[in-house]
């Protein structure tokens, strides 16, 4: 309750929550409001927004209903963002916890691997993964998670390093607690708040990465991804620029929502930490 009140004191947090709820509502209502397949032909191609009352945001160059595509796209973006962040944060917590808790050569080895992942530009690594494993939705989602785990990993490791020699950990160890319950039950809960805040940033980055991939035509072509429509709109950019403009605005709003929620969470959970 206290955390919620603190969250609601932050204007960024309130705006972010409102935007996020709007995006989630769009995703949930997609099937009810636009029961047709968003990838199917809905009418004559390239009708401007407002020209046809049945298609409020017009159609793209493939004749798809842009409004329906936006609503179904919200579902895809949220799904990919959520699953990819779970993968990224999951790997990050696991590797960071082990490295920070054990230290020594385990830490050295894991940190070299983390640095290797940080050294290769994440989008180029994503391209390699797509080239190797193909571009189905599940593959793309996991690949995005795989390129994004290093920052949460470093956060968790730093927390573990500072926590592992605290009295309560030493006491639990002295009582004969084994490593696994000690890590999961004692240290991890204390290390989590900054990771939760950072998860919203991971989510925003995941959505941006997927849209960039879809824009290049390297994502799953069978899903209604916003980046996909921006890419399709490129060929008619000179005249019908709205085809690219509208889905891009949707990405902007969604990513902004996650950043603002992250800032609100940060203000509420650890007011002294700076989120980047």
């Amino acid at each position: 309750m206290k955390a919620l009140r603190a969250y609601l004191r932050s204007p960024a947090g309130i705006i972010g929550a409102v935007l996020l709820i709007a995006v989630i509502a769009a995703a949930l209502s997609a099937d009810a409001l636009f029961p047709r397949d968003p990838l199917a032909l809905a009418g004559r191609p390239l009708q401007w927004p407002g020209a046809n009352p049945r298609l409020p945001l017009g159609t793209d160059n493939l004749g798809r209903d842009i409004a329906g595509f936006l609503f179904h796209g919200a579902r895809v973006s949220l799904l990919i963002g959520l699953v990819a962040s779970v993968v990224a944060v999951g790997i990050g917590v696991l590797v960071g916890a082990v490295a920070g808790f054990y230290g020594g050569w385990v830490d050295d080895l894991l940190m070299r691997i983390t640095e290797a992942f940080q050294t290769v530009p994440n989008f180029i690594l994503l391209l390699v993964l797509v080239a190797v494993f193909g571009s189905e939705l599940s593959v793309i989602t996991i690949a995005i998670g795989l390129v994004g785990w290093t920052a949460p990993c470093r956060l968790v490791r730093a927390e573990f390093l500072s926590l592992r020699n605290r009295e309560f950990v030493l006491a639990a160890r002295g009582l004969g607690m084994r490593d696994m319950p000690l890590i999961l039950g004692e240290v991890l809960p204390n290390a989590l708040p900054p990771v939760i805040v950072y998860a919203s940033v991971v989510m925003a980055i995941a959505i941006l990465l997927e849209s960039a991939l879809a824009f290049l035509g390297l994502s799953d072509p069978n899903i209604a991804s916003w980046g996909n429509m921006i890419g399709a709109g490129r060929s008619v950019l000179r005249t019908e620029w709205y085809v690219s403009a509208i889905p891009g605005a949707a990405i902007l709003v969604t990513v902004l929502a996650f950043s603002l929620v992250g800032q609100g969470l940060n203000d509420a959970l650890n007011p002294r930490m700076q989120v980047l």
Partner: protein, 324 residues
């Protein structure tokens, strides 16, 4: 000087195991790929017999075991041989070399722009903290952070190339214009404005938030109060005392963010058809040219290591407490 040299050596030694992890990891990853260069070539030729495929595999050394291929690859790398690009029919090193200059120029411009603009905006915001310039700049920073760079690129093309016709919509320079000297520099500069802005905006947002936070932190320290108390004018306090110390986290961040920026160039170079490394990466994925892709990963990793190396030395110079 000794301190810097020792630091430099230690940094270089630290980057070697990282490089090794990258090479082995990527090689093993690519072994998992369904289909290889020969499959892609055969598909391009419109199919062929199994004997042809076997002959080609032998020619490209793809018939050996995984460990042997890895050993060969590492040996060749030791002599700076990145292999043959199957699609371009040239050594990978020369394909990459042709593209490197464009990317290097593009990256430096984007980095310089993001750094300079982020610095200025961050200082302005911190000077009037919680005033309207601060609110405006911080809000802009949040919005900039959320804009997908490729979309921004397209919208800038619509506005500045299509509607206003001020700037070219793509390419690195006007082809066939035969420009030399300053005229060519100006030509390239006009081509780079839109891509640089598109790529740099998100980093500008990060730098400005960082700079603002870092200025505020330094301004609350005792030595700043001392400087003010001894009667220094505010501008001088900011320039001489606050700015220099507040710059340190910014410099670290340039190193940390460089790899992300290089990744972002893939999309932006594709949007603006810049003949750089990023676009080459995209092309080699589409064409399944694995040798080239591996080469790009290696070269970009080396670039990232190099930039971080320079940043570390710069940092040690700025702050004498860092080092051996």
């Amino acid at each position: 000087m000794m301190r810097l040299a020792a630091l430099a050596l230690r940094r270089l030694a630290q980057s070697l195991p990282v490089l090794a992890v990258i090479l082995v990891g990527l090689f093993l990853l690519l072994q998992l790929a369904p289909g290889d260069t020969v499959d892609a070539l055969m598909a391009q030729m419109g199919g062929g017999s199994a004997e042809d495929a076997a002959r080609l595999r032998e020619q490209y050394g793809l018939d050996a075991g995984v460990a042997v291929q890895l050993g060969r690859y590492l040996l060749r790398l030791a002599s700076f041989d990145l292999g043959q690009s199957a699609i371009y029919g040239k050594p990978v090193a020369s394909v990459i070399g042709e593209r490197l200059a464009v990317t290097a120029l593009f990256m430096s411009c984007a980095l310089a722009f993001a750094f300079a603009a982020g610095l200025v905006l961050g200082v302005l915001a911190a000077r009037r903290v919680n005033g309207w310039p601060d609110t405006l700049i911080s809000t802009l920073g949040l919005v900039f952070y959320a804009i997908p760079s490729f979309w921004l690129g397209l919208m800038l093309i619509v506005l500045f190339s299509v509607k206003l016709a001020w700037l070219p919509p793509g390419g690195f320079e006007t082809i066939g214009a035969g420009l030399t000297g300053l005229a060519r520099v100006a030509d390239i500069a006009t081509h780079l404005v839109l891509p640089v802005v598109s790529l740099a905006l998100i980093f500008l947002a990060i730098y400005l938030r960082l700079m603002r936070a870092s200025m505020l932190e330094v301004m609350s320290l005792d030595f700043v109060r001392t400087a003010r108390a001894k009667g220094l004018p505010e501008g001088k306090v900011l320039r001489r005392h606050v700015l220099r110390n507040a710059l340190l986290p910014m410099v670290t961040f340039v190193g940390l963010q460089f790899s992300t920026m290089l990744g972002g160039s893939v999309v932006i170079e594709s949007v603006f058809s810049l003949p750089g490394l990023g676009r080459l990466a995209f092309e080699s994925v589409v064409q399944r040219d694995l040798n080239t892709l591996l080469g790009i990963v290696l070269v970009s990793a080396l670039l990232v290591i190099l930039v971080n190396f320079v940043v570390d030395l710069l940092y040690a110079r700025l702050d004498p407490r860092i080092g051996a």
